[in-house]
Symmetry: C3
Subunit: 162 residues, 3 copies
């Protein structure tokens, strides 16, 4: 590994961070821009793959579009290998939560990603993303819990800060 | 981006990590040392700004000083841009929790930071920090939950480890 | 700090990430490979130390081996100092959870690590690891919570994804 390699690694990490930020802000054009056009994805430890950016985006929007379904995706533990001048693989940890304030459920879990990246004229893109879960659990949202801020309902402002 | 730029990025990341560490350890002098004297802050998605290090510290100590009000601030997803030899901007994710063991409440949330940094003779400092929330929720602390370690009450020692 | 130093820092970070990955996958040979043979450890803010890789592994396997005791360890906020050509120290944040699905309890906490690293012929290894807790709490696992994926029981596959 050379200092020049670290520049590529930093760019790949930022791609992953941008992907998470756009996903949790429900900025779907932003999310789409993180994928190569022929990207594949295997969420939730599935053996089958979503084929192509359009199929991936249809899946993500179908699962996560309502603003009453809040998500956070915390990406950590990057272990990235450059496998060629325009290709790389990456292992990451994921801690995620889906809080559905309308249906009253919460899903929490932790996973291990196995990604592939491709360097295009526009920079690094996701060529493949997928993860297997360490665990995932589904809970009823506790009764005595109150939403005090939301990117959409309060414009990101906390009702607890005067 | 050059390898030399990465050295600056690493220093800025460490500033942010040190800030979080001092904040959660309630080391107020340490926190103060992370800010430029004329720093500004906008916590909780507020449109108004705290002006100057002294105003920021008064706010933080007023909100977080009791050791029965435990906080954690997990900083992730750094996307940092050098905008000049002595200036930079940064986007980060935040996952934070406030556990008040005396009043019996918990606040949890996730946010997106938009920071500005300045390089001083003493190194990089926070010039501006602020975030908007993806979500925040306030809960009653569950009855069947017991504190088994605290930085202050047990000197950081777990009562669960023999 | 030089760009060449950053290569060493990246290798040390990856050691820590690999350690967390192996630990949460219960890959005990993988975990053992992260430690120097004469490594020491002080988990849970203990003042006494575990002496040697074998003692550390016996402790970890004794505490965490059952696959009904799911753990996640999220390492963040690396502040690493190279102290010589083959030695380094590191401060990290830890957010961890232990979910025992059989005994019905959950432990959650946050900590600050103080590590030491040594560079061997096979790369960087943990020379000492230890942490003090910001907080730790023990809860009954909520009744209306259902495990929908596990690395061991479902092969990492979510039962929520069709």
């Amino acid at each position: 590994m050379t200092p020049e390699d670290l520049v590529e690694l930093e760019e790949i990490k930022r791609l992953k961070y941008r992907y998470a930020r756009f996903l949790d802000q429900k900025d779907w054009d932003g999310v789409a821009g993180c994928f190569a056009e022929d990207a594949t994805a295997a969420y939730g430890g599935k053996t089958g793959k979503l084929e192509g950016r359009d199929a991936i985006m249809a899946f993500l929007r179908g699962a996560l579009e309502p603003t009453t379904r809040i998500t956070t995706h915390a990406m950590g533990h990057p272990e990235i290998e450059l496998t060629g001048p325009q290709s790389a693989t990456g292992t990451w940890s994921l801690h995620d939560e889906v809080i559905d304030t309308k249906l009253g459920f919460v899903v929490r879990g932790a996973s291990v990603y196995a990604d592939e990246y491709v360097k295009t004229d526009g920079g690094w893109r996701l060529k493949h993303t997928g993860y297997k879960r360490i665990y995932e659990e589904l809970s009823k949202r506790p009764d005595n819990t109150r939403l005090t801020a939301s990117w959409w309902e309060t414009g990101g402002k906390s009702q607890l800060v005067p």
